[in-house]
Every structure is written in C-alpha cells, then in structure tokens.
Symmetry: C2
Subunit: 197 residues, 2 copies
DNA sequence: CGATAATTATAACAACCGTTATGATATTTG
DNA sequence: CAAATATCATAACGGTTGTTATAATTATCG
C-alpha cells in the first residue's frame, strides 16, 4: 500500500525548502544531490526515495518557488481593489524581505539554467503563461470597471506588467545597490500611471 | 619571447566567440572545456594555452559580451542627441536581432550562475557599475541642457533605466512570446515620458 | 508476534569534469 | 641551419556527479 499523500508531500516540501535555500545561497552549480541531502541533514537515500531523479526534484523546487510567490501575492491582494490592487500585488512579491530575496535568487538561478535545460524551460514558460493570464484577468476587470484606459491592449499590458516587475526584481537581486521602499514605490507608481493616462 | 599581443588577442577572441555561441545555445552547464574546444574545432590544448584556467576563460567571455553590447550601443548612439538619444541607445541593444539574442542569452546564463560564483559576481557588478555610470553621465548632460526634469535624482534614474532595460530584455529572452518593434517602441517611450513630465 | 512494506543509509558504477604533464609539430630567432 | 620557443594534441590524474543496487532500519498491519 502507498503511504498517505500527506506524509509524502510533507517530505517533498521539506526537501524543496532545503534545496531552495541551498540554490539561493550557492546557485544551481552547488546543488548536487549530496549537497542537498547534507543541507537537509540526511543522506541521498531520502532524495532518491521521494524523487525519481534529479530533474524531477529540481522541477518540484521550481514549482515551490512559483507557489510561494503566488501565495504571497494572493495574501497581499486580499481586500484590495482598483488600480491600487495592481500596485499592492507587485510590491508584495518584489524582493524586499529575506524570504523573498531567497526566492528571487533561486528563481534567477533557474531562469539562467533553463536556457540549456529543456524540462526547466518548459516549466518556466508554463509558469510565465499562468502568471500572465492571472494579471491579464485583473486588467480585464479593471477595464470593465472603467478604471484604466479602454483602448489598452491587455495582452500586451500583462506582459509589460511582468517585464516591469522582472526588471526591478532582477536588478534588486543582481545589482550592487538596492532600492529603498520609497524608490520602489516610485518605480511601480510610474508604471501604473501609464495605464490610466 | 612572448608572441605579439595581436595574435594572442585574436585567438582569445575566437575562443570567446565559440564559447559565447555554445553558452547561448546550451547554457553554462554544457560549456565544458572539451565542448568549447569541439565548438571551436580544435582540442583543449588551445584553451589551456591561452587561458590559465576555466574561470579566466569564462571571465573573458563575460567581458566580450559586455564589450559587444557597449560597441553596439556606441555605434547606434552616434549622431543622436537629446532624449531621443536615450531611446535609441536602449532600443539598439535590446535582443531584436539573432546576434543580440545570442548575447542576451549568454548574459542571462552568466547572471544566473554568478550568484554562486564569486569571481563572476564581481565581474558582473563591475560591468553593471560601469554601465550605470555611463547612463548617469548621459542623464547629467540632458539635465544640464534642460531637456529632462531638473528635480530628478539621476543616480536613481540611471538604475531605473537599467531596470527597465533588463526587464524588457529578460522577458524577450525567457518568455514564450516576444515583442513587436512597435511594442518595444511603446515600452521605451513610456519610460522616457517619466523623465520629462 | 510475525510478516510485509516503507524508509533511510551506504556503497559501487560509469561518465564527466578541470587540471596538469608530456610529446609532437610549427614558428621564430640568433 | 640550428637552437629555442610557441603552438597544439593527447592522455592520465583525482575528484565529483547522477544513478542504481543493496543492506539496514523502522513502521505498518493482518
């Protein structure tokens, strides 16, 4: 008989958390199965038991990364409305806390490696499409409510939202300096102005 | 006696070009010394003769990437003036041609790997600082000429220029869809509007 | 309790890595 | 020409990798 899904999933999450931390700290180069096991405080036996191979493990970590971003975003957006909602959602998942920095660093490692890794690239594009569809839906509601320019091409605007978001995020992570909360607010507010004017 | 610098540099450039192409195609994971040599049509003997070790080779490739971007930018900016110059410079080095896509893909691979690689990270930050200083200087000239808002904090604006630029670039490379020339123009024009209004 | 299965550790494997030494072949220089 | 040096190919090295098989341990259940 197979073990209850709860326990399996719980362990896989623990593995993903350890791998995520390690990847964020040392990049995907340093994330060998032995290193991940060491980070988790066990041996590779655990990893090979819950994951068929390393690719499956990495894909699960990437999924965990995107899930955490989604949850953080959903939680922050609760109770918000209108254009302000778009602003809150973007600010909530930019790398402004240690936890978010960890997630962004791992994400950047994945994106860089995905170019030479078909399975990772597919996963990345799938998540990108999901994310874009979500933003697109938000924009549709705003447009129907008359809060943003009715002439805007929302498919393009959804992509532009992500581009703006990625640009700020990647820079905060990889550049020598970071942005103050006021500066982040300025950057996001500027983007929003283009939707209403 | 040492060989004339011309020949050495010429060979190192050839190696960098082959490595750049390979990294762009298969990522840094696939860029082993043997694979780079194969891409170049020789053996690893050439690589070890012109580079002390792999790190030195990779750093040289990263430098080549940034040099090509600089040259493309400088060439496109020739004869331009005012705010239009900023627009031309950004559009010129966004990944709109196969050559630029190759460069951007390699750049993204480097940035992703740099998080777990001290030497690469230092190089990346050095180039970022150089780039930012260049844009900063352009902004100073525009501000002195009265073409952009005199109240702008140009250090912040230089970083914002790069963030905007990186966002569009990373999305064009890693996202499923790409932007049409008109859409790119729209994105860049939007950014420029924030400098003058 | 005893048996069956899940879990975890350990070890061996072939493949690949960067590095290094060595030898062969051009090329330069005195 | 001959000696010295630059150039390049080849091979061996120790180390690390993902994968896999197997053993030891623990938990589950009839």
């Amino acid at each position: 008989m197979s073990v209850p899904a709860d326990k399996q999933t719980q362990w896989k999450s623990k593995v993903a958390t350890a791998a995520l931390e390690l990847i964020s700290r040392e990049g995907l180069q340093g994330a060998s199965l032995r290193a991940i096991a060491h980070e988790l405080g066990c041996t590779t036996g655990v990893l090979t038991h819950y994951f068929r191979n390393k690719d499956e493990l990495l894909l699960f970590v990437l999924e965990t990364v995107m899930e955490r971003l989604s949850e953080t975003l959903a939680q922050a957006a609760q109770g918000t409305q209108g254009v302000e909602r778009l602003k809150v959602m973007m600010l909530a998942i930019l790398p402004t806390t240690p936890e978010l920095v960890t997630i962004w660093r791992a994400w950047l490692a994945f994106v860089g490696a995905a170019l030479g890794h078909a399975a990772l690239l597919d996963e990345h594009k799938r998540h990108y499409a999901n994310f874009k569809a979500f933003i697109h839906q938000e924009l549709v509601m705003l447009q129907e409510a008359g809060e943003i320019d009715p002439k805007l091409n929302l498919d393009f605007e959804a992509a532009a939202w992500i581009a703006t978001f990625d640009g700020i995020g990647v820079n905060t992570i990889s550049a020598p300096q970071s942005y103050s909360p006021e500066e982040l607010d300025t950057l996001v507010s500027r983007y929003l102005k283009t939707l209403t004017s």
